[in-house]
Amino acid sequence: MKAHYSLHAAPEGFRIAGDSSSTPQERARQLAYRRRDFLRTAAGLALGGSLLGSSPLVRATLAPKKRKVVVITFGGGARDQETFAPEGQENIPHLMTELIPQSTFFSQVINRGILGHYVATASLATGVYETFNNFAAVPPENPTVFEYFRKDLKRPASDAWVVAPSNGFNRIGGSSHRSFGPSLGANVILPKHLLTAATAPSTDYEHLLRDNYETPLYTPQLGGGEFELQQLESILKLSVDDFKARARTLSSPDELSVYVVRQLMRQVAPSLLWITMHDIDIAHAGAYSLYIDGIRRTDRLCADIWKTIQTEPEYAGNTTLFILPDFGRDSDEDSGGNGFQHHRTGDALSRTTWMMALGAGIRQGMVFDRPLQPTDLVPTIGSMLGFSATLSQGSPISELL
């Protein structure tokens, strides 16, 4: 676990930061308002509120069994100043001009859990703040959204998929909960693992095999449940040669993931699809330009996935897309951290993020400031698709239902 404090033998300014003039809750609220203001200025969005109730007419047009949900975690976490603040908007042109105007945007999603990527993403997927060791290759302890979905709706394994770039995520598809478990979980594709299996050692693909930046020196051993290489052909309808040839043209692990996602949507068309982006987390290496490159690439890839949703017949018109970071990154002002590089301080900026929802059943151009938690995602998806996330700690987001 990484969380380090300079309690002692450091000058005053280097001690744990704290804006003594406001509480963490107030700082989170200020962040949300600022984000809302940025959006209202830049994208001309409306502020949601009590006047805007649910929209049963919109919802009634969607038959539950046909509805699909795609979740993208905006990988590795990014801060406002590199995204929604005026100086950061140049890094997210696709979100700003294409996606947000079509979305309902929540400006204050507060993560109260552990700020490690695997455990936080698992918390997103279970609706419970998981507390396992972020660096261990273990399944979540609580049922995942995939298990609820498949068990309640009696869906086959082919209807729930996860695509994740980091080998550490290979156990996220199913929990260790005794009433659920991997047999009810999602298929997990780790494109980097797939590429490694498909290729002999070669410099041609090294740019796509970057590691888990949070633990750049170590990759957990894979164990069970991963997508087998031979399924490339049987499920994704891809020959190993085609896969390798295409991979050679891509520039990052997340691009490889999105390529696999497109193939999966086209060939399998799962109703519940979860994509974890990770390129932005190169920030841990401390090179700001690479972090910015990661944000720009993720912005573009989110738009690519949205376009795919709109053009694939199985998805067009009946799919709700969620985009949200798992958490943020440390602020420049918190002397306990080192700015954008990490997410170790637990300060308001690293805990407070955003979420957008767009597509089927979602109002366009709305912004809501009330605080949500990432654990609200799973019960919200449950309400949309018709299953009950009984063990989740969160609540369905009424503005989306």
């Binding site: 676990m1 404090y5 000058p11 060791n133 700015g339």
Partner: protein, 401 residues
């Protein structure tokens, strides 16, 4: 074991001065909660290898703790007493391995949702300490200098955007002999106020010839140490059972001799350099990260009066494993990316300088090496201004002071 059971012989494993220091203040340590003492001992155990400013601060802190009345101890440490620890933590050898305890304690705080409470307790403690034991003002106004953009011939994007609101942006400086002028100015300050570790020169590449009184750290000079570190990590990563946390613990235990450093001369600086490589994320592979982190740690720990940081081009991004293990003879450099890294690094250098005492009198200069653009911050310069006044780097320093 709990702190009230501490006895002087338990510190026999500490380096000589640290052992003596701990024994001198044993009665003060015995009164403090376990959620606090190991983080203090983590500093004490390093006392023999600390910079003068750190030693002074630590001794003042211990002295203050010894002077607190029982009522004050209760008042100051009440919030720490409320932090719940596990029996596993209590059974750790936190006297001899305080850093390991702190690492696991951090994980415990995250997992048990006590991080915010701990942050609040720590912030409150720091505020109280600062009020009772205010840090000494610097012997002379501090000066920070950042030199960025080495090797970049043209760059059409705006520079110093984050610093401009705080200083004057100069556009018509004479760049000739600029680095030498800066080094001369730093040397003059070192000569005027000769104090150990008070005047630093950090170079992200190969250090230019400089005055012998400067404390110099360079990425280039540490190439053998970086190679030795990579070799050791490669061996350890391949060892069965090795995980990211075990590796981190192992790195934290490395000493100068392990990295071919510990030659007679400057044990304090050698230990500092080892920590840069073993505790800094990305410092082993990206020179821009190294320079920024070295500056941050020098400011935090040594609290220098003068700090010149020259950023150098870093290698291009490759897979992390290749960066760690690859053939360094075929390094491809990313000049523009390095400039972007350094531009933000300069901002962080300024932020960190401003966290030290005497911030209102300090000056800061950042120069685009080889070009006529620079920015200066100082008591006599108005923020958010722009100047086309001609001058050289020597003149710029005079304006900033």
């Amino acid at each position: 074991m709990i702190p009230s059971e501490l006895k002087p012989p338990q510190f026999s494993g500490y380096p000589p001065e640290a052992s003596k220091l701990a024994a001198n203040y044993i009665s003060a340590l015995q009164r403090l909660p376990l959620s606090f003492v190991p983080s203090l001992l983590r500093e004490v155990i390093e006392f023999d290898f600390k910079f003068p400013a750190e030693r002074e601060a630590l001794e003042r802190e211990l002295s203050n703790l010894a002077a607190l009345s029982p009522e004050q101890v209760h008042e100051w440490f009440g919030p720490f007493e409320k932090i719940r620890l596990s029996s596993r933590l209590e059974s750790l050898d936190w006297v001899n391995s305080p850093a390991l305890f702190v690492e696991q304690f951090s994980a415990h705080l995250w997992a048990t949702h006590q991080l915010d409470a701990f942050r609040a307790a720590a912030t409150d403690y720091a505020t109280r300490l600062h009020a009772v034991v205010p840090p000494e003002p610097p012997a002379m106004p501090r000066l920070g200098i950042a030199v960025v953009g080495q090797g970049v011939e043209t760059y059409d994007q705006p520079l110093f955007r984050k610093l401009r609101p705080h200083g004057a942006y100069f556009t018509h400086l004479t760049p000739e002999n600029g680095l030498q002028q800066l080094l001369d100015a730093v040397a003059a300050r070192a000569t005027a106020h000769p104090e150990p570790y008070a005047h630093w020169y950090v170079d992200g590449g190969e250090a230019a010839p400089h005055h012998k009184s400067l404390t110099c750290v360079s990425y280039h000079s540490l190439a053998p140490a970086r190679a030795a570190l990579s070799a050791k990590m490669r061996v350890e990563i391949e060892r069965p059972g090795m995980g990211p946390e075990a590796l981190r613990t192992l790195l934290a235990q490395m000493r100068p001799a392990d990295l071919d450093l510990g030659k007679p001369g400057d044990a304090v600086l050698d230990r500092f350099q080892v920590k840069l490589l073993t505790e800094g994320s990305g410092t082993q592979i990206f020179s821009t990260t190294f320079a920024q982190w070295a500056a941050r740690e020098a400011l935090r720990r040594a609290q220098p009066l003068t700090l010149l940081v020259r950023f150098a081009p870093r290698q291009r991004q490759k897979p992390m494993n290749e960066l760690l293990y690859g053939n360094q003879s075929s390094v491809e450099l990313d000049f523009v990316g390095s400039l972007v890294d350094a531009d933000l690094g300069a901002y962080y250098n300024w932020l960190n300088q401003q966290r030290l005492t005497g911030a209102e009198r300090s000056s800061f200069v950042v120069w685009f090496e080889g070009h006529n653009q620079a920015l200066a911050i100082g008591p006599s310069l108005q923020g958010g201004t722009k100047s086309s006044s001609p001058g050289d780097l020597r003149q710029l320093l005079a304006w900033a002071s």
